[in-house]
Symmetry: C2
Subunit: 149 residues, 2 copies
DNA sequence: TAAAATCCTACTAAAAAAATAGGAATTACG
DNA sequence: CGTAATTCCTATTTTTTTAGTAGGATTTTA
């Protein structure tokens, strides 16, 4: 019941872009260095975020990534779903009828799984990148040192 | 971000014991058959539930497992924690200070992880085996067929 | 034309999860 | 007493998933 590094890295990467990619695009190289993530691994996450419409890429020298929407229009939930798949604690509650297991109709535990899913979504869908950037800036000012992500 | 089969099987097993282990102990063999779980795999989960004080074992012929507490005193959350470990979506938020990563002090994403953890716990700690058994019985009566778990 | 970047996709390594295996100890019952 | 049914213990293997690495093609700026 853990998020993979894929999700953790990906979320930090897009937050990094939200913060550092405003004037000029943020390159994989720069993000990887700031976030201490393997460059090549990060490189594989970016297309997911791009295809989902969160970021745009700029190729060539001085290229990199910028947000494709404003931070308040990107929720943490959306990002995590793209990186991790549906935020359900078990597969069956998000699968189509024909792929459910034979005990579905008679299953009691499914009610718990569904409730957990709802709660998780409550948490992640109510917070956007904007909120996180604001926390970042506030802490930054308070403490007088660069805040990472 | 999925529960392992360990957790799913284990929860179903203890529910099975709550329902079927009232008159006589429920044996691994019988639970495995009802729940369609590998007997040998299940065998490895039971000691965890036993050590945690949820069930008691009866050895020998006609042996098996019975609940060690009443169902209303066993929450789903407790059971899942025993089987799965802390219900945190990332490790760092439940680790001791000295095991945290170097960016802890400056981390923004930790606030989300903590919130997700709280929400998950809200869901699982508020429901006990008693509730699930009641759902089971209600459905059972309604529909006129044995309900599994 | 050279350097810095994204893009694409295949491969490998490591870790975790799931399942299997086999025998020791305990107990009820004929 | 002996046998069958059971828990108990722990090691091994298999499978799946995750994480990381590699290398070259394409694009763009200066």
């Amino acid at each position: 019941m853990k998020f993979s590094t894929r999700s953790r890295y990906g979320l930090r990467a897009i937050l990094d872009i939200a913060i550092n990619g405003k004037d000029k695009p943020a390159s994989i190289n720069a993000i990887a260095e700031r976030q201490d993530i393997s460059e090549k691994y990060l490189e594989q996450l970016m297309p997911k975020l791009k295809r989902a419409g969160f970021i745009e890429s700029v190729r060539g020298t001085y290229g990199g990534y910028v947000l494709a929407k404003s931070p308040e229009d990107i929720s943490v939930g959306e990002v995590l779903r793209v990186l991790e798949g549906p935020l359900a604690p078990v597969r069956c509650i998000v699968e189509k009828e024909d792929k459910r297991c034979g005990r579905w109709n008679k299953c009691v535990t499914k009610f718990i799984w569904a409730e957990i899913k709802d709660k998780i979504e409550e948490a992640v869908d109510s917070i956007t990148l904007k909120t996180l950037v604001e926390i970042y800036k506030k802490k930054d000012a308070e403490k007088g040192y660069m805040y990472y992500i």
